[in-house]
């Protein structure tokens, strides 16, 4: 049965092909069945394969399909590699993916491009599965670019608005920068180690490179470049907030649960390389820390419900990077899984809110939705608790593990720990800021919704995700065979209480500011310093502004001034010189007979003179 692992991406590909070829001619419920059903089939297959694999006790399983290219000693194949890590990823992708597809059958029900939407979504699932299941880095790169493509297609799904197109292109180009770095990393790895098969490559690296070897550092750095692009971390994070222009289900699927976690997967998958380059591994941690704090501050100032969740995602992925940076590989992946649950839950619930309020996304135009939208309310409650690592939710266990591991690290471990705790504090504040403003207080909406949007196909997934967000922390992820036995870390009871309590304090502060209004926001915002800070954080710490001035405007200027191609100008110059010479010489052709006769005579005299002289 494990042999059928190739079916996993095949079902969505078939779904994609059927939907593309029928191009909107099928009735909507058939499209829904094909679209969501293909992913559902993938999930069932994945579950069966997972059970089989886990009970077999093997560490890994390889299924070869065909040789993709064979050029000299470069011969990547289309092969599937199943181990604990790819198992977790594949279950998350197909499982959460299926729930989101199901939700989307309801969410997109009124959209005229229903079929196109599901075709893109299916293609995405296929590409993401190839990314996590490939046994060599080239297949991973195939999936990597594939998900980037689908992200572009889906962000710009509502193409009539040029802003969506801009956001889509921004996402694609920014991630492409990271992808190019990653490609260079692949070239380096092949040039030095002779193979891009992941396991072979890692074994060779361990054998040939000592810890801290310059080549390992460069290779790891380049792979990190790819990872930060896809995962929207510093410095390539600017595309994620704009990506919220796409429909909410894709924000849930691509920009929360799966694609943005691809970077985390990449680093985890090639973790041996990073262990060989400790400076880069530490850099991973720093990138994670700075991003998580940065995004936390930004989220405090946002007013669009999806953007808040987007920055929250950026921040949580920062935690995953932090985990990877301190060597807590399993913890990072564990957090990836739990985050997929509660972030998808939050995004889907926000989708219901948005549709119930007729496409309103500004939280300051919401309020008092607690009674009107019960499912969303409960979803947000559970999701927010999990996000802020409320004890015994899934997020609690995963975030806990990361911070404890950070604390156990020598050197920067302390900074990581306290930074992570500060981040948790911020998370508490902004998450519950969102919660209280949207669901409590007075309504600022034009009119309250009559009922909650969506039927069983939208509420069902929400409930499923609620359950997963609650019990997900108790799943035992089979990652030990992949990463080796994880070290046991302990922190003192005092520190542990501090760690657990801080987000709760954040929730409490948020309660005071946004619910009971004991500390009114206006008083906080009185000083001009506070206002500047607000504006600065709201603009994403000015990164868009910086990148525009540094890269975008110079490129546009350079392109514009050379529109006519200066090299062509050189040839035009040649033409002009020819013309000028022509103009000069043609003057000797006067047409006068006597002039010609004179020139004949003159030539004759010259020749005779020369003949006489020489």
């Amino acid at each position: 049965m494990q042999d059928l692992i190739w079916l996993l991406p095949t079902y969505p590909v078939l779904g994609f092909l059927i939907l593309v070829l029928t191009a909107g001619r099928l009735p909507k419920n058939i499209v829904a069945i094909i679209g969501a059903g293909s992913v559902g089939l993938s999930f069932l297959t994945a579950a069966i394969i997972a059970t089989q694999f886990l009970s077999s006790g093997e560490d890994y399983f390889i299924r070869e399909v065909w040789t993709w290219m064979a050029v000299g000693n470069f011969s990547p194949g289309f092969n599937f590699y199943l181990d604990g890590l790819s198992l977790v990823m594949m279950l998350v992708i197909t499982g959460v993916g299926f729930l989101i597809h199901l939700y989307a059958t309801g969410y997109m029900a009124d959209d005229p491009s229903y079929s196109r939407f599901f075709s893109y979504m299916n293609l995405f699932i296929a590409a993401m599965l190839m990314l996590v299941l490939g046994d060599n880095l080239v297949v991973l790169y195939l999936g990597w670019e594939g998900v980037g493509l689908c992200s572009y297609l889906l962000i710009g799904f509502w193409y009539a608005n040029p802003d969506n197109g801009y956001a889509a292109r921004k996402a694609f180009v920014v991630t492409r920068i990271g992808d190019t770095a990653m490609a260079l990393g692949l070239f380096l790895l092949f040039a030095e180690l002779g193979t891009l098969n992941i396991q072979d490559m890692l074994n060779s690296a361990e054998a040939e490179w000592k810890v801290g070897d310059g080549l390992a550092v460069v290779a790891a750095l380049l792979l990190l470049g790819g990872a930060v692009g896809k995962s929207a971390q510093l410095p390539l994070q600017t595309w994620l907030p704009d990506a919220m222009a796409g429909p909410t289900p894709i924000s849930a699927l691509i920009h929360a649960a799966t694609m943005v976690t691809a970077g985390v997967y990449l680093i985890a998958r090639t973790h041996i390389l990073f262990e060989l380059a400790p400076s880069v591994q530490e850099l991973v941690g720093w990138v994670g820390l700075i991003t998580l704090l940065m995004a936390g501050f930004i989220a405090l100032t946002q007013s669009d419900i999806k953007r808040i969740l987007a920055f929250s995602t950026m921040s949580q992925i920062g935690y995953m990077f932090l985990a990877l940076g301190v060597g807590a590989w399993s913890a990072g992946i564990f957090h990836l899984m739990t985050h997929a649950f509660f972030k998808a839950l939050l995004f889907l619930a926000s989708g219901t809110v948005i549709l119930s309020l007729h496409h309103e996304q500004n939280i300051f135009k919401m309020g008092a939705l607690r009674q009107k939208l019960p499912v969303s309310f409960f979803s947000f409650l559970v999701g927010s608790l999990a996000l802020t690592a409320f004890p015994y939710t899934s997020g609690y266990f995963s975030k806990d593990e990361i911070l404890i591991a950070a604390h156990g690290l020598e050197g920067p471990g302390m900074i990581f720990f306290y930074g992570g705790v500060l981040g948790a504090f911020l998370t508490g504040i902004y998450t519950f800021r969102l919660f209280f403003i949207v669901f409590f207080g007075d309504s600022n909406a034009a009119h309250l919704p009559e009922k909650e949007y969506g039927g069983w196909n939208m509420n069902g997934p929400l409930i499923a995700l609620i359950i997963l967000s609650l019990i997900g922390g108790f799943f035992a992820v089979p990652l030990d065979p992949v990463f080796g036995q994880s070290e046991e870390h302990h922190v003192s009871g005092l520190l542990h209480t501090f760690m657990v309590a801080t987000p709760l304090i954040g929730i409490a502060i948020s309660f005071l500011i946004f619910y009971t209004k004991t500390i009114p926001v206006e008083k906080l915002m009185v000083s001009s310093f506070a206002q500047t800070l607000h504006k600065f954080w709201n603009s994403g710490w000015g990164f868009d502004w910086l990148y525009d001035r540094l890269i975008v405007f110079p490129f546009l200027w350079l392109a514009r001034i050379n529109r006519a191609d200066v090299i062509d100008g050189f040839y035009a110059l040649v033409v002009e010189i020819s013309r000028a010479a022509n103009g000069m010489i043609v003057k000797t052709q006067t047409g006068y007979l006597r002039w010609y006769a004179l020139s004949v005579a003159a030539g004759l005299i010259v020749l005779i003179t020369l003949g006489v002289l020489l």
């Binding site: 080239v138 292109r169 190019t180 692949l186 070239f187 050379n562």
Partner: protein, 499 residues
């Protein structure tokens, strides 16, 4: 013999097509189509054949002008066969794109088209250098007519520019050929233009560099590479669609083929020492033309500049001269042949409908012509190197190989991947996304792709997906040739060094 048949079918077919116009104005295109389809069938024969003598799958060697050592020597190996197949395939596509577009003097048009194809076939198979030059000229002149007679508003300028560029550089190549033959006659006592004989000529130092430059300049003008590329945007944007298809799809590949077959093997030491400069030109081509492409408002000019950019990868691969890089160059040639041809056909189809190539007059077409939008999207994505399609295989392999030879240039060229995404997505944004704009043309004419057009595009899409997902089928054909070329060049280098 089969090679003579291949070329003759096209020559004869061209003449018949020209003459048949008097009988019925629809006959020329029919006859052209039948000719090229017949060509494809005959060519499939080549695929099954086993390499016979000296690694050639098919060959014919007949004396032509024995006094000067010129023989009628045609031969095909795996590399040539791949390019021949591409030529035949694109010939069908080109005729398809001209089907409705060329009404005026159709007979003469198809005559020119078929004779250009015949010239290209000759270029890909000629192994006598004089014969090679002969076919080089043959492929040039009918193309000049195609642009000059059936082109768009600036056709005379574009046709003349194309002609002069190629002729002048071709003359340089002729000088090089003659000098090479002269040296051969001195060194071995008899005159010959035969490829195998000329391979044994030993030339050194600056002289070898100059002779090689003659070839290099001629081929990089055809490729084209910066700084000899400026004929291309004009020629492509002014040519009729079928002309653009042949130009972009095949004619450019003759330059690359020339580099692989002639320029490097005939002058191994000079090529190796020249390689860094050539690779720098390639990197400049990739980046510079990507930037210029982005600034264009004429679609065809934009696609033309992107062609130059993509062919930069080919040059990069050729001068890296290892197995991955060369295979990458070959795959890029094949994949780019399909993707560029498709994009030019689409641009031409759009121009045929709304009579403008200016992208500022376009916008929001997705809703009106969804099939066309999807097809353009597909080929744009192919052009930016999306894995799963042929262009990725070529570019990835070329960069992989080049990285082993020259890291800084590979890094610079890899940046081209980013720029490719910028201009490809910009095209889609400008034409198909956003608000619907139709102020400059008649709405009713903006019709979606017809079934016949869809057949052509689907064939090309399948081709690209095949190349992307199962490139092994193509790589095995070219592998023995390339390995031979690599090892023979090394052999000559080492033997000279030893001397």
């Amino acid at each position: 013999m089969i090679l003579v048949w291949l070329i003759s079918i096209l020559f004869i077919g061209g003449i018949i097509a020209w003459l048949s116009e008097r009988v019925n104005p629809y006959y020329p295109r029919l006859i052209a189509l039948i000719t090229v389809l017949l060509e494809c069938v005959v060519m499939l024969n080549l695929l099954g054949a086993e390499p016979a003598t000296g690694g050639w799958i098919a060959s014919i060697d007949a004396a032509w002008i024995p006094r000067f050592g010129i023989s009628f020597y045609l031969a095909a190996d795996g590399l040539s066969v791949l390019l021949l197949l591409l030529t035949a395939f694109l010939g069908v596509i080109a005729i398809g794109s001209a089907w409705d577009e060329i009404k005026d003097r159709a007979g003469f048009f198809y005559f020119n088209l078929l004779w250009t194809l015949a010239g290209v076939l000759g270029v890909f198979t000629a192994l006598d250098l004089f014969l090679f030059f002969f076919f080089w000229e043959v492929m040039l002149i009918p193309m000049y007519f195609i642009i000059a007679i059936w082109g768009h508003e600036n056709k005379n300028y574009a046709a003349m520019k194309f002609f002069i560029f190629t002729q002048v550089t071709g003359m340089l190549m002729l000088v090089s050929i003659l000098v090479l033959a002269y040296f051969h006659s001195i060194q071995s006592g008899f005159v010959s233009f035969n490829y195998h004989d000329l391979l044994t000529v030993e030339t050194y130092g600056p002289l070898e560099m100059w002779i090689m430059l003659g070839f290099f300049i001629a081929f990089t003008t055809k490729l084209p590479s910066v700084p000899f590329h400026s004929w291309l945007p004009d020629a492509h944007s002014q040519a009729p669609t079928a002309g653009s298809v042949i130009l972009a799809g095949i004619l450019l590949k003759t330059g690359a083929y020339g580099l692989i077959r002639f320029a490097v093997p005939l002058f191994p030491e000079a090529s190796m020492s020249f390689a860094p400069f050539a690779m720098t030109l390639a990197a400049i081509s990739i980046l510079y033309c990507a930037k210029v492409a982005f600034a264009q408002v004429d679609i065809k000019r934009l696609i033309a500049y992107t062609s130059v950019s993509h062919m930069g990868f080919v040059t990069l691969g050729v001068y890296a001269w290892n197995e991955q890089a060369l295979q990458g160059a070959v795959m890029t040639m094949l994949a780019h042949g399909l993707s560029a041809a498709a994009l030019f056909m689409l641009a031409g189809g759009l121009q045929h409908r709304i009579h403008t190539r200016n992208m500022s007059d376009m916008g929001g077409f997705w809703g009106k012509v969804p099939r066309m939008a999807v097809v353009v999207l597909f080929f744009s994505i192919a052009a930016l190197g999306m894995p799963g399609l042929g262009n990725f295989i070529g570019e990835f392999l070329a960069l992989l190989g080049a990285f082993q030879v020259n890291i800084p240039l590979t890094v610079i060229s890899a940046l081209g991947l980013i720029f490719a995404s910028v201009y490809s997505l910009w095209v889609i944004q400008k034409i198909f996304h956003g608000e619907y704009v139709n102020s400059e043309f008649d709405d009713n004419h903006l019709t979606d792709l017809t079934h016949r057009e869809m057949v052509y595009y689907t064939a090309m899409m399948i081709g690209l997906i095949w190349m992307g997902m199962y490139p092994q089928s193509f790589l095995t054909l070219s592998q023995p040739v390339l390995i031979d070329l690599i090892s023979s060049a090394e052999g000559i280098v080492t033997s000279v060094v030893r001397n």
